[in-house]
Subunit: 197 residues, 2 copies
DNA sequence: TTGACAAGTGACCTTTCGTTCGCTATAATA
DNA sequence: TATTATAGCGAACGAAAGGTCACTTGTCAA
């Protein structure tokens, strides 16, 4: 019947892994959440670990498509205000998109156990955002919106505080509103400080 | 014999929980690492969960003693260079102290499962450092070392990038050297940007 | 219509989990 | 010295884990 069961298994696995971690997830519950009995899962994946690996493949591929390619970069803003708006749009998306939230949680939980999860975690939490904003800041310096400085250093100084607040939302979703407004305040403060005289 | 077995159990639990998480840790291995058979543990703690709770009590108490009290604050530095040195001393300590590294890892792994771990994680990763540096920055502004600004905002902007690099060390210890030098570079850049004209 | 195959079921297997219990050795107490 | 609590041992327990297998069912091509 359902040809998309393989897909649904991955989605359910992402959900459960993100809440209870790999070890804390059991196949019975996972299959029950899909309306099947546990042995049914083994028609689609040969083991729990195979599900994990397939899920990681997905996450890695998705990250590559979505954030990996340089041509996907947002355009260099034309004003400080536009820069803040762009930031808020990106942050709002990454905070609210369920898929991405769950992915970050899984990476958080499995980063010490799985080598590939560790690498992807570093991209999600550190290098990815920095690499994304470095050319933006370089472009803003060219346009005279920011004082001349090391764009990579600025990107690091800009994205890591925002990342910290995003992770706060993952951990304590009830603080999302507060976190979003803090991101905006930080963003405005940042362009003010680094803005061209 | 060993009256300190109860202590050693907590130490071994911190070690294992920090590597494999609560679910991934089993009592057999835990007791074996202490040179006893698994049932021996139950002479000291009534269950695995009791060990977890005792460990969390410890971590919370330790954090309160170490970082919670205002009188424990480092003195306000007298020069930018002194500020950088102070930062490096604190960062080096928190990166290399095994106890604290393991504590951060445990909190990372259990923050979505345990309410108390969640709260302590937010202190460790976000609010604690910010609250620590806010009065320092206020003092530096009073001394004319930093331009007048919102000290809490500066503390947030200063500590979260450092925290991101500390967490990188937790995840990928082989990058410790690189991270430490990036912390120093960031610190110097920060005092340069925010320094009084 | 029939044959083949993919998808799902339910019983069952082995292993491992956390936990319990009865026993022993030791060391402090009365 | 006799007693008693403590710390550890080793076998055993039930529950739950991941996984296997023979079987049924529904779909579709030949």
């Amino acid at each position: 019947m359902a040809k998309d069961t393989k897909e649904r298994i991955l989605a359910a696995a992402l959900e459960m892994f993100s809440q209870k971690g790999y070890e804390g997830t059991n196949i019975r519950e996972l299959s029950a959440s899909l309306g099947l009995v546990k042995s049914g899962i083994y028609k689609h994946y040969e083991s729990k670990e195979a599900i994990w690996n397939a899920l990681l493949d997905r996450m890695i591929a998705y990250y590559g498509e979505r954030f990996g390619s340089p041509e996907r970069l947002p355009p260099v803003p034309d004003s400080p205000e536009e820069f803040v708006v762009m930031t808020m749009r990106m942050a709002g998306f990454t905070i609210r998109d369920e898929q991405i939230v769950k992915t970050r949680k899984v990476l958080t939980l499995e980063q010490f156990r799985d080598e590939r999860a560790r690498e992807l975690a570093t991209k999600h939490f550190l290098t990815g955002l920095t690499e994304m904003f470095t050319p933006i800041f370089a472009g803003m310096m060219d346009k005279g919106l920011l004082r001349r400085d090391d764009p990579a250093m600025l990107a690091f100084a800009y994205t890591t505080p925002i990342s910290a607040l995003i992770r706060l939302c993952d951990r304590e979703p009830e603080k999302t509103e507060e976190a979003v407004s803090r991101i905006e305040a930080f963003s405005r403060h940042f362009v003010m400080i680094h803005g061209a005289k």
